[in-house]
Subunit: 376 residues, 4 copies
Amino acid sequence: MSKKKLGIGIIGTGFMGKAHAFAYRSALAAFPEIPVPVLRMIADVNVDRAAQAAHQYGFEKSSGNWRDLVNDPSIDVVSITTPNTLHKEMALAAISAGKHVHCEKPLSPTLADSTVMMNAAEAKGIISQVGFNYIKNPMLKIARDMIVGGELGEITGFRGIHAEDYMHDPQSPWTWRLDPSGGPGVVADLGSHIISMARFLLGPIVCVNAEVETVVVQRPKSTGSKTMIPVMVDDIARMLVRFEAGFGGTIEANWVKTGCKMQLGFEIEGSKGALAFTQERLNELKFYKSGNDPRSSGFTTIESGPQHPPYGGFCVAAGHQLGFNDLKTIEIAEFLAAIGGAKPHGPDFREAFEVQKIVEAAIQSSKQQSSRVMVN
Amino acid sequence: MSKKKLGIGIIGTGFMGKAHAFAYRSALAAFPEIPVPVLRMIADVNVDRAAQAAHQYGFEKSSGNWRDLVNDPSIDVVSITTPNTLHKEMALAAISAGKHVHCEKPLSPTLADSTVMMNAAEAKGIISQVGFNYIKNPMLKIARDMIVGGELGEITGFRGIHAEDYMHDPQSPWTWRLDPSGGPGVVADLGSHIISMARFLLGPIVCVNAEVETVVVQRPKSTGSKTMIPVMVDDIARMLVRFEAGFGGTIEANWVKTGCKMQLGFEIEGSKGALAFTQERLNELKFYKSGNDPRSSGFTTIESGPQHPPYGGFCVAAGHQLGFNDLKTIEIAEFLAAIGGAKPHGPDFREAFEVQKIVEAAIQSSKQQSSRVMVN
Amino acid sequence: MSKKKLGIGIIGTGFMGKAHAFAYRSALAAFPEIPVPVLRMIADVNVDRAAQAAHQYGFEKSSGNWRDLVNDPSIDVVSITTPNTLHKEMALAAISAGKHVHCEKPLSPTLADSTVMMNAAEAKGIISQVGFNYIKNPMLKIARDMIVGGELGEITGFRGIHAEDYMHDPQSPWTWRLDPSGGPGVVADLGSHIISMARFLLGPIVCVNAEVETVVVQRPKSTGSKTMIPVMVDDIARMLVRFEAGFGGTIEANWVKTGCKMQLGFEIEGSKGALAFTQERLNELKFYKSGNDPRSSGFTTIESGPQHPPYGGFCVAAGHQLGFNDLKTIEIAEFLAAIGGAKPHGPDFREAFEVQKIVEAAIQSSKQQSSRVMVN
Amino acid sequence: MSKKKLGIGIIGTGFMGKAHAFAYRSALAAFPEIPVPVLRMIADVNVDRAAQAAHQYGFEKSSGNWRDLVNDPSIDVVSITTPNTLHKEMALAAISAGKHVHCEKPLSPTLADSTVMMNAAEAKGIISQVGFNYIKNPMLKIARDMIVGGELGEITGFRGIHAEDYMHDPQSPWTWRLDPSGGPGVVADLGSHIISMARFLLGPIVCVNAEVETVVVQRPKSTGSKTMIPVMVDDIARMLVRFEAGFGGTIEANWVKTGCKMQLGFEIEGSKGALAFTQERLNELKFYKSGNDPRSSGFTTIESGPQHPPYGGFCVAAGHQLGFNDLKTIEIAEFLAAIGGAKPHGPDFREAFEVQKIVEAAIQSSKQQSSRVMVN
């Protein structure tokens, strides 16, 4: 059991700020070997919100100025959970101060900015992490093990999607998510998750034909407002992709997919087997193995349990179910473990950069009548 | 109740020949108003097989020569269920003899041949039908009614697939399906089904970016043979498509999708609702309606019943389940009804021609680095 | 291929009369070895309905008097599909005339009457059959093979149910199903199906504790009527049962189970494996095998295909789905095969009598405060 | 936001000790209004394990003697997570010291002991809680609201089960769970969960007919041992029950149900609707509403989201999924809130006592040939 301590700071108190707080609070209980996270400071531009968050999440102090946090010598680790446009400045400052940095996805609005961030992190030698939390699911670790171990044989196809419907109502008002200075729309926001999952499971993607479109072309300035603001970012992206290993697939990202709350999933086939998964049932993995007795073969629904590490850190009994915040805890625990000297599992800034290259290739392809664009 | 009689002839006694026989035998029992089918003749190049089929399926006579059937004056209706390469000659002869013609899909190996067949049928004024049986499902009729009736609002996306795995084993030997003189591979064999379904539900497709590939590049000449024959037709086709109505989608056709026995399905979204379906559970349609009480909203699984015509022709009680052969019976009954003077529901030769245009556009796109090809 | 012919007569033209007609029409096409059914006569108390049915289902003649049918020397086989109260007289007359008799379930309103019918059939040596069609599903044959073959090890439990909701609306009017002279209510109507399935899979049931109750205690005389008729038969039956083999289980029969259209299903466990099934997805069987790699074990969803006889008689390709009428076809085909000399698979009148003993034991137990009643 | 603090002590560091630790650590982050839990002490008979747990879970101190914890004046709240036989002594001591007490289920081995514990808690006026965590699921709160609000109409039936398979392997060795001095077997261990759920949703159960049996009658003393120890507690319990409100149902508890990892679920019907749930998919509730358009009616799968409080305390976006430890967090947060003066939601010791009365009635019924036993 580790005794090493790491001072933790979180910038941002919204959806992801809270998710990080849960994760830092639970990580050691689930992973006894990691360094001990000590919750030092939480920062938010709203100083009252920062103070409340510090109280509620158990941080020692709070600040309305993120630079206080980045410059605090008692802090070793900085989590950046603010809107995308702010990531770069914060990350560079934290890296410069020698902090290990976890930054939420997407890393930045542009590939150029992400390159700067990646280079800074690598030059400084800090441990970086990006919040592609869904790949931390034990069922996906098993899936990857099966693929890498050859249990599916030679892979022949991938059919991936990340679709939700939080933007599907044309009357839901304009938000910062739609500000093009923050980067593209769904292709970055949700597309990056399914691209990161594809890469985690199957390796690099080398070319893309994509169609990216805006479905709701204007939105009310605020709820009920008659003033409409044009939407400049995309709602749906559809791609034909090809993997370095030679096989092809399709990827969809869609935040107007009516009725879908968390359709982040895939179907993967190989010469010897197949896998299927959806985040809506994150504790299940479907597995088909060729060559079994045809009378009783079919897809097997594997339910998560202690035989799928690190499930057992959360519960010793099978079938009890992990949740979203548990995946975030795994992500944070692996990050802390890497800082403590364990093998980093990422995804780090470089991986986020690789994901973003595909995002940008998709946008470029779409502008060129969905022609093929190589991801160099 | 109709008293009009129609003499029936079937060419071919294989998978589809038998399916047609079941359907002609059951049609009147399920649909009392259609003309009475009288089972006159079944033909097969193998005269013994033809005789056995006539006995087993209850046909008055049989022949080893399909021209006997086409020229028999007691026959009004000809079903063509032979391999694709034979369709054209048989259909033209039957049309020329004034028969109404049902031809299995795909209509012919090439768009040029299909054009000839379509023009001949239309010039002669006969009723033609093509075997896209899956769209005859009552659940799909309901789906179409909902879409046409505006219950889904403005459509925003389609995600369709027809995948099976009957060709996935590289050791399974070469077959006539792989003969390029019969036309393309999976894009025609399975792709045509999901394309016809997309068109049935959502209308014309106007452009395609596609990638079509061969996964198993050679196969044993026969089971266990060491002699390998190169495979010249495709195993997988993936497409970005755009519909005339303005929205986009993806379509996949795949006969090497390991573990999938009948994954013919779709997800459709609109501004007011969504639908999802898979042929593996053909008696279920999933429906989401926007704007309901959020506390209790979600996808509703509609189970087929008499409230979904023509289910009630088969069974008066809900939940009892239709099967594949029942869909074929609906198809045949509608065909006979149209011959009897009812409004034709198709799909006719023209519809098959339209489907084939998309198939050919996909192949053309794939040859041009998946560039965009317009379906004119 | 058999050339032997059997003259067929059906009494009744309702739900089950039509189901029998479909089945006799399709049986030879799916089962080439059975005797050839020749559709001689259909009878209904309504002579017009009989004539229409004869035309629609392809019978040579019709009658308003079932005795004409029973006494017709060209008829070898009689299907009785009338209300329960009429079964006995018809069956005894048909047996007396030397016909083979298929009688719909339940065999008769009382165990006493069923005993008479069974004894008559056995004394005459005719082939008898009762319409427990659901056990004819290929997936249940596989299930039984697995159990009998020891693949589940020693059985430890059964949890069975047959629930629908066609009586759940208190405003739906009184019907003949509710006439106590026809026997008990749901325990006979649906309960007999799940009991027959339990016996088919697992063998005799030797004791029962049951609670049988009426939920909707009165119903309108007709739709919208203010006159209410008291309901004297049961709506729900719940049972603790014990099988001869030593293990226990529960059985529920329920025709007021709101929302359930065809919940006829079971869960069976043994020391080495488990099975689960529901008729709502009749082409699927779920199978769990102990002792597999725990990392990838779970319930496998087996989809029906030609590897599950007699599926292949209907379709050569897996995953295409059988329907309710196909199960009836299998039942009728096996009945005709047995008449032709093949091994009878039943269920015959004796089996229906055994099922009815459990039905009566349930009612008796319920009257005695759900005390244990032995099925002798 | 509450500033009141409560000192927390946990006795036991096993499966449930850890679950409590997770919950106390996360509660305030998810529920800002509750008193602030301060993690004072964790005790375990193994002093090293206690020290490790204190470090890992963030408790200020540890002890090898639970009396230290119970007598510590800085501690306001005691969680008891030790084996059942130890509950009574610990709880009485904690109550006597004026602590609020959370005790894991079942409360004690016998109804007599539980009565003593309940009376002590009520006499002292402390807040008591028992660990029936599954009813803390937001989807079950919604289910209860629907039932209480009359959305299902008059309830007509309940079909509940809690089945797992952790004891199904006859070679898995004897454990403390099988010690009859700890009380009955599965009927208490799992049965109490489904009974508590039934009561939470539907109110009191007034009579029981039950069959309780031991399937694996002896087990190895330890893994691989040839010495067999007879098993004196039950593996399966099956019950017919009747609720005070007048309707009936069945309940099964089973820890040898092969293949089932967490089949804790129910089906409930009423005159106007129905609900179905299984813990294996704890973020889903199935809901059927009578009287909707029959063309599009069916069971709706509701996915958990912020519209189902207190989901939103964990995540602001729908579909992200809660896990087992989140349910425990809700339970602990409600307990702390009640200590802080909010309305207690229980289940308290009295509720556990009521559950245990049904457990004992089941055992008594089984001994009397499954005769009806009233729960007074």
